[in-house]
Amino acid sequence: MSVVVGYVPNERGKAALHAALEETRFRGGPLVVVNSTRADRLVDPRYAQEDGLTELEETLSRAGADYELRHFASRETAAEDLLGVAREVSAELLVIGVRRRTPVGKLLLGSTAQTVILEAPCPVLAVKT
C-alpha cells in the first residue's frame, strides 16, 4: 500500500509533498510522486525542470522516505495522470494541494482537484496553503 502525491513546482506542491511525507511516515510503504505535463504549450510552469527535480529529490532523500518519482509527458490531463497512477499502484491515500478558485474560473477551466477528489479510488487528502 502506498501514498501517491500530485506535485507541482510551487508552494502548493511543496505543501502537498510535506503532508504526503508525514503520512508516509505514519503508514509506511512507498511514496509515489507524480509530476506530468500535456506538453501542448511552449512553457508549462507546473512541470518540474532540471533544477526543480534536483531540489525535489534532495527533499525526498533528506526525509529518508522510500520514494518513486513519476515525471512524464502524457496526452491526458493532470487529474487523469494522477488517478491513473493511484489505480496502478492501488494507492492507500492520494495527496493533492488545493487553492481558492473563483466560480467563473472553475466554470470556464474546470478543477483538477475536484476531478481527483470525486473520482479517486481511495481517500484524498487535500492540503491548503
Binding site: 505535463t37 500535456r38 506538453a39 501542448d40 504549450r41 511552449l42 512553457v43 508549462d44 510552469p45 512541470y47 525542470q49 532540471e50 509527458a73 496526452r75
Partner: protein, 525 residues
C-alpha cells in the same frame, strides 16, 4: 515641416491608440515562436478594410516594430528565438539569463532596440525623401533591373538553400500570372474556372501560406515537451548596472550602423545584420568581455538586437521610395498599400505625403511605447507562452478563414485558401521558404508590366534592358551582392559551427547549424 505635420496626425488620440494596439499585438506575436509579423499583418489585412489607410498603416508599422522587440524576450529567457532576427541574441542572451543576469540582457536588448529603432527612423526620415527624388528619374528599364535585384536577393539569398528559394520564387511568379492579362485581355492559366479570372488575391496567398500552412505544420507535431524558462531572480530595479551601460552603448551604435544600410539594400534583411553585428562585437571585444563571449557577454546581446531593429527601419526605404519589398513583411505591407489603391514608389511622398509622414511619425511614437511596454511587462509576455498551442492555432485558423471570406465575400476564396494552406504546409515540411513566393506573387505582375513597357518602347529590342547606366550599375551590384553574400554566408556558417562546437564542449545540447537553418527558413516571415 512635413514630419511635424506627420507628428500632428500621429499624436491624435485615436492614432495613438492604433499605434498602441499595433505594438502590443506585434510584441505578442514576436514573443510566440512560429508566428511572425508577416503572418499577423496578413491576417489583419482583411479586418482593416474598414479603417482608413493611415490608421491601418500605423497598426501595421506597430506590428512590424513590435515583432522585432518581442523576439528578443523568448531568445533570452527560453533560448527559443521568437523570430529569425533574434537567433543570434539567444547565443549570449540565454547564457546571461542562466547566469542570473537575465534582467540586464532584457534591458540592453530593449534599450538597444529603442536607440537603434529611433536612430534608424531618423535616418529613414532623411534618406527616404532623397531616395524618392532620385527614384523619380528612373524609367521602366531601371525598374526591371531593380526587380531582378529584388528577386535574386529575396529568392536566392534569404533562405538556407539557393535552389529551394528560387523554386519558391518561380512558384510565386507563376501564381501572379493567373488571371486576365492586363494588356491583351486574354485569360491565362485560369483553367476555365470563373473564380480564377480575377487572379489569386495576395491576401489569400499570404494568409494561406503564413497562417494556414504554419497552423497545419504545428498541428502535425503538436506535442513537444515544454522548454525551461529561466526565471528572473533579481527585481526590476536591477536592470542594468553602470558598467552594463558603459559596455552596451558602443555596440548599440555599431549595431545601428551595420543594420540600417543592410536593411536598405536588399541583401538579406535583418538576419544577416545580426550575424554581422555579433561577429564584429566578438572580434572587437577586449579583456574581460572577450573572455565572457560564449558565456554571456552583454555586447553580444546589445549589438545584434540594435542591428535587427535598425534593419527593420532600413527595409522601409526601398519599400516606400521604390515600391520594392525586401522581406516578407514588407511584401505584405506593399500588398496592403495596393489594396488602398496607393502605389508605393517615387511619387508616394508627393501624392500621399500626409500618410507617409504620419506613418514615419508613428514609428517614433511606437518605439517609445515599445520601450515602455517591454521591460515592465516581460512577465506577461512569458505568460502568453503558456497558452496551449491548439487554442492558439484554432483561433488563427478561424481568423484566416474569416479573412479569406471577407476578401470578396465568396466561399470559393476559402477553398483557394485551404489549397494554398496545404501547399504551405508541404513547403514548410520540406524546407522551402515561403517568403520568396509571396514576393514573387506581388512583384511578378509589376515586373511584367515594366518589362513589357520597356520592350514596347524599344520596339522589342532586348538590348534596351542594358541601355541605361543605372540598370547596368544595378546588374553589376547584383553580382557584387551575390558574391558578398555567399562570403558572408560562409562566415555565418563558420560562426555557427564554432558556437555549436563550444556548446558541445560545454556539455550542453547544441542546436546544429541545420536546426538553426530550419528555424531561419521557418521564420523568414
Amino acid at each position: 515641416m512635413s514630419l511635424l505635420d506627420g507628428f500632428a496626425t500621429a499624436a491624435q488620440p485615436i492614432y495613438l491608440l492604433y499605434a498602441l494596439a499595433g505594438v502590443f499585438l506585434g510584441t505578442a506575436v514576436g514573443v510566440l515562436p512560429g508566428i511572425g509579423p508577416a503572418m499577423t499583418v496578413a491576417l489583419l489585412m482583411p479586418l482593416t478594410y474598414s479603417l482608413e489607410p493611415t490608421a491601418a498603416f500605423i497598426v501595421f508599422a506597430g506590428i512590424y516594430y513590435g515583432g522585432m522587440y518581442g523576439g528578443s524576450t523568448t531568445s533570452i529567457l527560453l533560448n527559443t528565438p521568437g523570430e529569425s532576427a533574434s537567433i543570434v541574441t539567444a547565443l549570449e542572451g540565454n547564457k546571461m539569463a542562466r547566469a542570473g543576469r537575465g534582467a540586464a540582457a532584457l534591458a540592453t536588448a530593449a534599450v538597444g532596440s529603442f536607440v537603434a529603432g529611433t536612430l534608424a527612423t531618423v535616418a529613414l526620415t532623411f534618406v527616404a525623401p532623397t531616395a524618392a527624388d532620385l527614384a523619380v528619374r528612373l524609367g521602366p528599364v531601371d525598374y526591371v533591373a531593380l526587380m531582378v535585384l529584388a528577386f535574386l536577393t529575396v529568392g536566392a539569398l534569404l533562405g538556407s538553400s539557393v535552389s529551394r528559394g528560387l523554386v519558391a520564387l518561380t512558384l510565386g511568379l507563376f501564381l501572379g500570372l493567373v488571371g486576365v492579362d492586363a494588356i491583351s485581355g486574354q485569360q491565362r492559366y485560369t483553367l476555365g474556372v470563373p473564380v480564377l479570372t480575377d487572379g489569386i488575391d495576395v491576401v489569400l496567398v499570404a494568409v494561406g501560406l503564413f497562417a494556414v500552412g504554419e497552423a497545419l505544420y504545428i498541428g502535425s507535431q503538436l506535442r513537444k515537451g515544454p522548454v525551461h524558462v529561466v526565471p528572473i531572480t533579481k527585481g526590476w530595479r536591477s536592470w542594468m548596472s553602470r558598467q552594463d551601460w558603459a559596455r552596451s552603448w558602443k555596440p548599440w551604435l555599431r549595431g545601428t550602423a551595420i543594420g540600417f544600410p543592410i536593411g536598405t539594400i536588399p541583401a538579406g534583411g535583418a538576419d544577416v545584420s545580426t550575424f554581422l553585428s555579433y561577429a564584429s562585437e566578438r572580434r572587437l571585444a577586449k579583456g574581460r568581455s572577450k573572455e565572457e563571449f560564449g558565456h554571456g557577454a552583454i555586447e553580444g546581446v546589445a549589438g545584434p538586437e540594435s542591428a535587427n531593429n535598425a534593419a527593420a527601419a532600413g527595409v522601409l526605404v526601398p519599400l516606400l521610395t521604390l515600391g520594392l519589398p525586401t522581406s516578407a513583411t514588407a511584401a505584405i505591407m506593399l500588398a496592403a498599400f495596393q489594396r488602398y489603391n496607393i502605389q508605393p514608389g517615387p511619387l508616394l511622398f508627393e501624392n500621399e505625403s500626409a500618410l507617409v509622414w504620419a506613418l514615419i511619425a508613428s514609428l517614433y511614437v511606437g518605439n517609445v511605447m515599445l520601450l515602455a511596454l517591454n521591460l515592465p511587462l516581460v512577465g506577461m509576455w512569458v505568460k502568453i507562452l503558456q497558452v496551449p498551442r491548439h487554442y492558439l492555432y484554432a483561433g488563427i485558423l478561424t481568423f484566416a478563414a474569416m479573412g479569406a471570406f471577407a476578401v470578396n465575400f465568396t466561399p470559393a476564396d476559402v477553398v483557394i485558401l485551404v489549397v494554398i494552406g496545404v501547399l504551405g504546409f508541404f513547403m514548410r515540411r520540406y524546407g522551402y521558404p515561403v517568403a520568396p513566393l509571396v514576393v514573387g506573387l506581388i512583384l511578378g505582375p509589376m515586373f511584367e508590366a515594366q518589362l513589357r513597357r520597356a520592350l514596347s518602347i524599344s520596339e522589342g529590342d532586348p538590348a534596351t534592358l542594358v541601355s541605361s547606366t543605372f540598370a547596368v550599375a544595378v546588374y553589376a551590384s547584383v553580382l557584387v551582392v551575390m558574391g558578398v553574400s555567399f562570403w558572408l554566408r560562409r562566415r555565418e556558417r563558420g560562426l555557427e559551427e564554432v558556437m555549436a562546437a563550444e556548446e558541445r564542449a560545454a556539455g550542453e545540447p547544441a542546436a546544429t547549424p541545420a536546426d538553426r537553418a530550419a528555424d531561419k527558413d521557418k521564420e523568414m516571415a
